[in-house]
């Protein structure tokens, strides 16, 4: 009996040894999404004009810029770090605290980096796939990255009145806005999927790989079509 937990059932994906637990969390997240998050996101989308939502997105992205900058530096990408710094400086000042993306209009495109990507850049393996309650798909490396980012975030070391409220509003807006962005994508996924859990896992793993490689295709990583693997 004690050994039963150590046996790796043949039907589980190698990258997902915790599949039964993940599926349970996924089922919980799906219910939470359908009953709470999606209706709220749809209401937010209906009552908030598109330019206002764009302003919110710009503001939130600008707040995240210092994190992106640190990760650009940690990955040894000075050009990207300079772009992030320039974007932050321009948007915080000329862009009214980041509400307007003036830097983009000036030709400085935004990009994302996080500590999970930085760890991957330095060769840390992803570890098992995880589904986090309410946060959704992740893996051990990305969870460690997220936890560290939250712990060392400048917000953790600053003191100001209404800090807790600010943190909560930021989290709520971020979650809602991200959900609005994925409304159409999720509809397409649910329409075409054979198994929503596997589908989301596959999307997450491919998208993370793409983000880590900054969109550059690693030709050696592409699977063969003519050979049976």
């Amino acid at each position: 009996m004690a050994l039963a937990g150590c046996v790796h059932p043949p039907w589980r994906a190698k990258s997902d040894p915790l599949e039964p637990m993940n599926r349970a969390v996924f089922a919980f997240n799906t219910v939470a999404d359908k009953t709470v998050l999606k209706p709220i996101a749809k209401t937010y989308q209906t009552i908030t004009p598109k330019p206002a939502r764009k302003g919110v997105r710009n503001f939130l992205d600008n707040l995240q810029s210092p994190v992106v900058f640190v990760n650009d530096v940690l990955q040894g990408k000075p050009k990207r770090a300079a772009k992030t710094l320039a974007r932050f400086a321009i948007n915080t000042t000329v862009g009214v605290g980041g509400i307007l993306d003036v830097a983009k209009a000036a030709g400085i495109e935004k990009h994302y980096e996080d500590l999970g990507q930085t760890l991957a850049h330095h060769g840390v393996p992803s570890g098992p796939y995880l589904v986090l309650p309410l946060f959704g798909p992740s893996n051990v490396r990305d969870l460690a990255g997220l936890g560290t980012e939250l712990a060392v975030s400048p917000l953790s070391f600053t003191r100001f009145k209404g800090k807790q409220t600010f943190g909560r509003v930021r989290l709520a807006l971020n979650t809602m806005d991200r959900r609005v962005e994925t409304l159409q994508e999720m509809k397409t996924i649910r329409k075409n999927t054979l198994d929503e859990y596997v589908s989301i896992r596959s999307y997450y793993q491919q998208l993370r790989k793409d983000a880590i490689a900054d969109g550059v295709v690693d030709m050696d990583e592409l699977p063969d079509f003519d050979l049976i693997e």
């Binding site: 039907w11 491919q206 049976i228």
Partner: protein, 205 residues
Amino acid sequence: MTIKRKILAAILALALPLASPVLASEQAVTFVQNNVSKVLQVLSDPALGDVQKGKLFSEVITQVTDVDVIARFVLGQYAATASTPEFERFARVFRGYALGVYQSELSRFGNEVLEVQSVQERKPGDSVVLTRISGGALSKKSRDVKWRVITIKGTPRVVDIEISGVWLSQHQRAEITGIITKNGGQISAATKMLCSQSKTCTVTG
């Protein structure tokens, strides 16, 4: 004369291995330029009704891709153990499913201009063509789409498409092999599940 011939032979010996991959890549680029635009035109033609569009899309995409090769790929490790009738049943059902997915994924484009940005060769007869699709419904935005082109029996064919960071055939393989492994290696389980998604499908044998 002999020295000239030797020099010429040496130049050719150096140049030929370099020249053939370039030609294969160029073939992939031309193939994408000529055929993918046709697919986008069909999807954005306002004169076509849904049924007619679906039929025409199926015809055009059949010329662009090789669904049998993709069907074998999405079976992953199970392709090796599939009997011929088992594979044929799966491939028949998979064709309908794959066409639906391609149509749904590519329908987000319409009236756009497709521009080849670059081509990268993985090995002779296996290239990735990077395109930028802009204009039309995308308005000021543009989207990068990558096309994996493989030469099959002397003809280039698209076997995978990457849209917004996701390779469709690789994604389908994750789903299909997930279903088969969960059902003790039974390919018929995937065939039945694909069939249940289609209104017109029946699995026999």
